[in-house]
């Protein structure tokens, strides 16, 4: 499966896993309340919907790793460009793990992944005051199946756009 197809699946799954925080757009981690409404039109390059669908809101990791692949770096550079162009938005980076680890370790691993993304964005000129990180460990898979296919999609860090320019 190509990365692009994976991304489409992930984006499709995103619609189901919306946010508890009504000011957040997208994100795979939060609880069921809220909606994808307010993301705007993906045709509008300044909309969170555009960020989620065209820029790409997530990067993937290999097993037990928080290293950013070349592919991930390319996605994050695009994210950074978008965030530089749209300074009214903040981000929360959600780190996630697949289910093949213990609960506590996976929370720590997700924190490490989220931090790797946050540091990369920061190095690309996004002020650290605009970036928060959270780890969901293995608590919020985008896809649940007992197979590599799902685990690959679940080992991810998702950049969730929220309102507010930050400090």
């Amino acid at each position: 499966m190509t990365h692009f197809t994976k991304l489409l699946i992930a984006v499709a799954a995103l619609g189901l896993a919306a946010c508890a925080n009504p000011e957040q757009f997208g994100g795979g981690g939060a609880d069921g309340a809220g909606a994808t409404a307010g993301q705007g039109d993906a045709g509008d390059p300044t909309s969170p919907a555009y960020f989620n669908e065209r820029v790409g809101d997530r990067v993937f990791f290999t097993v037990d790793s928080s290293s950013l692949s070349d592919e991930a770096r390319a996605t994050l550079r695009a994210q950074a460009r978008w965030l530089n162009d749209n300074p009214d938005y903040r981000v929360i980076i959600e780190g996630h793990a697949d289910e093949r680890g213990t609960r506590e370790y996976n929370v720590a691993l997700g924190a490490r992944r989220a931090n790797a993304v946050a540091e990369f964005l920061n190095a690309q000129g996004i002020a650290s005051g605009r970036i928060e990180t959270v780890s969901y460990g293995k608590e919020r898979p985008v896809e649940a199946c007992a197979a590599q296919r799902c685990w690959d999609l679940n080992r991810r860090a998702v950049t969730v756009i929220s309102v507010g320019a930050g400090v």
């Binding site: 680890g101 213990t102 506590e104 370790y105 929370v107 924190a111 959270v134 985008v142």
Partner: protein, 444 residues
């Protein structure tokens, strides 16, 4: 000795209870009726429980259920096998009449439990006797328990504890509770609630409402308070909940960090936990009496899942500082950590046995997950289970049984228990999918 201990225990339990040991004193270890809990394969000891005598018509509502609770407790250990009522030849119509041992020998019962219940004014009084059928004598002295009728299950568990203890020489663990995470809804958006139930699955209630993601609840040493991790704020935070008052507070919170994996010290005054910041996860302790926080580890890696030794002087935890997750022990105040796991695979969620002799852990190796135990120095590692995903062991207060989470491939998680011998693997009944069990201490 046992009587004194039990007396203190029960007096503490049921305030204003009319409770008195009855019958002649007899040394607990007397007689041949004995199960040595060893690692060898054993044949369960056949026992019979005579239907408890109802001393009055109100007691008739309870005697059948009490008898079942006691029988189920004992059978659930795998150490005992009940000889059902249908096979009984003998009857016990009075606790004071001589036992017709031949009737019970004829059905091959080695132990016989008999009891009597009376109910009056909202209170129930339970008496029981244990008999060694083979040698034809009473084992230990008779005991009587009294309390609120609503506590009948606890009293039945106390009787089962007493029987277990007299026959095995180990402390019983039936009058205990389990706090765990009840899971409902799709895996991609699971609703998780902190739930609590009796060790046998009865008396289920929920301690959180499912609005926030929660995980890994832990009991305080008295069983009155629990710690767990909640995403109520959008970030993992540690909640301290008093389950008698339902008073709830966030502890260890620090802006810009994530805090999780809390566990009480054996005196209940300190909480040790993980704090993630900048991609690094270290262990901290928080003194609940004065709010003082202390950083215990300082490494550019992950340190999590801490658990105190029963004497409170050491902490076992998992860390990937060597490159993969392994188990370490350090002084409770921090300091140099010694690695204790050296086998193949990744080790996590170490939990110190209440007896102090063993560490239970989760091991991940070649695509399988195991619950295992090792000695405190890392020697004599034994894997007790294997499945697609087994994790998060918790000890019964007597250090003989471990409960954990099992999830089969593509399935929902459930609670299981296993003896430290690796025998008697059982699913623990829960209404919903369930994970992250924590066993209470013996209840006062």
């Amino acid at each position: 000795m046992t009587v004194t201990r039990t007396l203190a225990l029960l007096l503490a339990l049921i305030a204003a209870a009319a409770f008195a040991p009855i019958g002649p004193a007899r040394a607990q270890s007397e007689g041949p009726l004995r199960i040595e809990i060893t690692e060898g394969v054993i044949e369960p000891m056949p026992f019979a429980i005579a239907p408890f005598i109802a001393a009055d018509s109100s007691a008739e509502d309870y005697t059948g259920r009490i008898t079942r609770v006691i029988a189920n407790d004992l059978a659930s250990t795998g150490l005992f096998r009940e000889i059902g009522r249908d096979a009984h030849i003998g009857r016990v119509t009075s606790l004071d009449a001589p036992i017709q041992y031949a009737d019970w020998r004829a059905i091959n019962a080695q132990a016989l439990i008999a009891g009597r219940a009376s109910v009056s004014g909202g209170r129930i009084t339970l008496g029981f006797r244990l008999f060694d059928v083979v040698s034809g004598q009473q084992m230990g002295q008779g005991l009587e328990f009294a309390g609120d009728v609503d506590d009948w299950r606890r009293m039945a568990h106390k009787i089962a504890d007493e029987v277990y203890s007299r026959i095995t020489g180990e402390e019983g663990y039936f009058d205990t509770r389990i706090v765990f995470v009840a899971e409902t809804g799709p895996a991609e958006n699971r609703t998780k609630r902190i739930a609590i139930m009796d060790q046998d699955g009865a008396n289920l209630s929920y301690l959180t409402d499912g609005s926030a993601l929660v995980f890994a609840p832990r009991f305080s040493p008295t069983g009155r308070r629990i710690l767990f991790t909640s995403y109520d704020s959008g970030f993992p935070r540690i909640v301290l909940l008093d389950i008698t008052t339902m008073r709830r507070q966030i502890i260890g919170e620090q802006e810009g960090t994530m805090t999780f994996a809390p566990r009480f010290s054996p005196d209940g005054d300190t909480v040790v936990y993980s704090l993630s910041v900048g991609g690094t996860t270290d262990l901290y302790s928080l003194d609940l009496t004065n709010g003082q926080r202390r950083q215990l580890t300082n490494a550019p890696s992950i340190a999590t899942a801490p658990s105190f030794s029963p004497d409170g002087r050491r902490i076992v935890f998992e860390s990937d500082r060597s490159g993969s997750s392994q188990l370490y022990i350090m002084p409770a105040g921090g300091g140099e950590a010694e690695r204790i796991s050296f086998g193949q695979g990744r080790y996590g969620t170490p939990v110190w046995s209440p007896r102090g002799d063993l560490i239970a852990f989760t091991k991940q190796h070649e695509g399988r997950f195991h619950i295992g135990v090792m000695r405190v120095d890392g020697s004599e590692e034994r894997l007790l289970t294997a499945s697609f995903l087994d994790e998060g062991p918790t000890w019964a207060p007597n250090g003989r049984v471990i409960m954990f989470t099992r999830q089969n491939a593509g399935g929902d998680p459930a609670l299981y228990s296993v003896d430290i011998s690796g025998r008697n693997l059982r699913r623990v009944p829960t209404e919903t999918a369930a994970s992250d069990p924590a066993w209470s201490p013996s209840l006062p």
